[in-house]
């Protein structure tokens, strides 16, 4: 029968990469609720693409194929060269910026997998007309973005066969599983006459970016 797997706390949860096999769950249907999804139903909704290319639909496109679609559908927000317009995301450039005070996280500088671009662009772009692109159009637009980032040549044909093999520049820029260091605080924190500085070194009022439409009363 089904055995509930209780978490053994954070340590168990963050060692995902080393996890043992998932528990074997019952093969009987305990509630007899729901209906069997047909392969056609699953195919219509199962749109995700994994880093290894699993889920990528048959199709292909090159940067040369994608330039027109990108210009028509993407450039008004992301710029002709992926440089970004207003506050819309920048898609290209940003190399060597990640360790600076002003990191620029683009598909080229930050994203670890090309599959992510296919997955996201097909499911959510163009903004306001989601899931309207064909597989070929999506491969071509992804190819154009990769080309703008100098990751592939303009005539490289991106497809379901090779999207899982594209080497992204920041592929090894991520630490897994979560090894976030905790700020060091003793389990019995200081309660009296603690040795801390209480000098005011910054004021939100001086930054002056807070919206004024608050109910805040202004007492000076």
């Amino acid at each position: 029968m089904f055995a509930s797997v209780k978490s053994k706390g954070l340590a168990a949860l963050i060692t995902i990469g080393l996890m043992a096999a998932a528990p074997v769950l019952a093969s009987e249907r305990p509630f007899n609720l729901g209906s069997i999804a047909t392969p056609e139903q699953v195919a219509g909704w199962d749109i995700d693409v994994r880093p290894d290319g699993k889920g990528a639909p048959a199709g292909s496109g090159s940067a040369l194929d994608g330039e027109e679609a990108y210009t028509d559908l993407c450039a008004s927000c992301h710029g002709d060269f992926g440089e970004g317009v207003d506050r819309w995301p920048v898609l290209s450039g940003g190399y060597d910026s990640l360790s600076t005070h002003d990191p620029i996280k683009t598909v080229g500088s930050y994203w670890p997998y090309a599959s992510t671009a296919y997955d996201y662009i097909y499911r959510a772009m163009p903004f306001g007309d989601a899931q309207s692109l064909s597989a070929d159009e999506t491969y071509a637009i992804v190819a154009y973005i990769l080309y703008m980032n100098d990751i592939i040549e303009e005539d490289y044909v991106l497809s379901n066969e090779n999207i899982g093999t594209i080497e992204m520049p920041n592929r090894n820029g991520f630490a897994l599983p979560d090894p976030r260091p905790d700020a060091q605080v003793s389990a019995e924190p200081c309660m009296k006459n603690c040795d801390v500085s209480t000098e005011i070194i910054g004021r939100a009022r001086l930054i002056d970016v807070t919206p004024e439409d608050t109910s805040q009363t202004n007492i000076n």
């Binding site: 996280k105 959510a124 989601a130 976030r180 905790d182 603690c194 970016v209 109910s215 007492i219």
Partner: protein, 432 residues
């Protein structure tokens, strides 16, 4: 003390119409009452309404039942609304607003005040046409209607939902002058729904399944990978919050609930769960909800929301208006379990007192704390510091910056400081 009021566009628009009582009673609509309700309550007193006089609302019949079949808050509370920061995002459809924590008591967030974060606007999902699909490494790929989901055993649990970017604007310094803006990407409701472990039993999860892709039916097609241990531990498909059906902006008719973990994973308008043997590396878990460190490397899968607290009053929106007896109020929470203790400092962290925790103190839920104090016009530097049952202590911002730098954006759970000036005005400041 000199007081000036700011025009409040939102408040004025929300409360612009006259109430029947005001018309019937012939009361002057005091401009100050609309522009600055909080201050008005303290200062704009009409002696005609005070004893021994008969108050204006007493002689006349008020509206009868059913005037507002769903009910609305008092119009005198029209300033208690979600607010957004227009410059934060490129569009309102992919944006966020903030819960007015400073105006709430207890631990329950009213559904209409739960902060919103959408990536492609709010879809209008027709409940009869809603389906939840289960596919991938399962014995049976299944489709559930909403009614079928509601026939599973039900659980009812209070949990906080916090955006990983809550306080993200404050990593480098005090930036937004408000409790609402610096802490308001969190809310706490009672969710009613189905444990995912029950749905997993119905589908029959294959032993090699280690990850679940949760996917929304909105135009962002929001998708996140969740490890199966968490799915089986305490995740839910929720269809109600605080007793009523989910609000559209909270995922109507069904959403994923991932207790204690970052809000981006709580996929709204959920349409599909795919079981697989590796993470899907969706846009949200690679390009967005990863934490960039000083060395240019980024932490990935930083799901847990660590222990955190805030003082909701006094706060930049809740000045100290009276000398003498006052009540400090705040909220604390931890994604690792229950809050065990909250300490409060009025002098910038030199000396601390332990606040009173109010029942109920629940797992992965907001916890209310209060502390009475005397104020005689002296300057204060107000802080709160939460501890949870695992022994975790909420860090200082300097401690957090030392470990994670200032580029992280997400997971800022540091202690904040409110400066109370001698006038009673309160400001978000950074000390160090």
């Amino acid at each position: 003390m000199s007081m000036e009021t700011k025009k409040n566009k939102v408040t004025t628009a929300e409360s612009g119409k006259l109430s029947r009582r005001q018309v019937l009673g012939g009361a002057a609509v005091a401009a100050g009452g609309l522009a600055a309700p909080a201050l008005a309550k303290a200062t704009e007193v009409n002696p005609e309404n005070l004893p021994p006089n008969v108050s204006e609302w007493t002689p006349y019949l008020g509206p009868g039942v059913d005037v507002t079949p769903y009910g609305m808050p008092s119009e005198h509370e029209a300033h208690v609304v979600r607010r957004w920061v227009e410059w934060l995002t490129a569009s309102a459809e992919s944006s966020v607003n903030f819960t007015p924590l400073q105006d709430l008591d207890g631990i329950v967030t009213p559904n209409g005040l739960c902060f919103e974060r959408h990536h492609g606007g709010i879809p209008d999902v027709v409940p009869a046409d809603y389906r939840l699909m289960i596919n991938g490494l399962v014995d049976r790929e299944l489709l559930f209607t909403l009614d079928e989901l509601k026939r599973f055993p039900q659980v009812n649990r209070f949990h906080f939902l916090e955006c990983a970017a809550n306080g993200g604007m404050e990593w480098r310094g005090a930036q937004l002058n408000g409790c609402q803006y610096t802490f308001g990407m969190v809310h706490n409701v009672q969710y009613s729904g189905v444990l995912l472990s029950d749905i997993c039993r119905e589908a029959g999860v294959k032993p090699e399944a280690k990850w679940v892709l949760a996917e929304g039916g909105d135009s962002a097609g929001m998708n996140r990978s969740v490890p199966i241990e968490k799915i089986l531990d305490d995740c839910m498909i929720a269809y109600s919050m605080n007793g009523e059906a989910l609000r559209p902006e909270q995922g109507y008719p069904a959403r994923l609930v991932v207790p204690g973990w970052e809000g981006n994973m709580w996929v709204k308008w959920i349409r599909r769960l795919e079981f697989g043997d590796m993470p899907y590396m969706a846009r949200e878990e690679t390009s967005k909800y990863t934490d960039l460190m000083d060395d240019g490397k980024a932490r990935m899968f930083t799901w847990v929301m660590d222990a955190k607290s805030c003082v909701t009053s006094p706060s930049p929106e809740k000045h100290l208006l009276y000398k003498g007896q006052n009540l400090l109020k705040g909220l604390a929470w931890s994604g690792r379990g229950k809050i065990s203790r909250v300490d409060v400092s009025l002098d910038g962290g030199r000396n601390w007192q332990t606040a009173e925790l109010h029942d109920p103190v629940l797992d992965k839920s907001l916890t209310r704390f209060t502390m009475p104090f005397q104020w005689n016009g002296e300057e204060l530097l107000v802080q709160s510091r939460a501890m949870d049952e695992t022994g975790y202590v909420q860090p200082t911002i300097q401690g957090l910056q030392a470990e994670r730098g200032v580029n992280s954006i997400y997971h800022n759970n540091a202690i904040a400081t409110w400066q109370v000036k001698s006038t009673g005005a309160v400001e978000n400041v950074r000390i160090g």
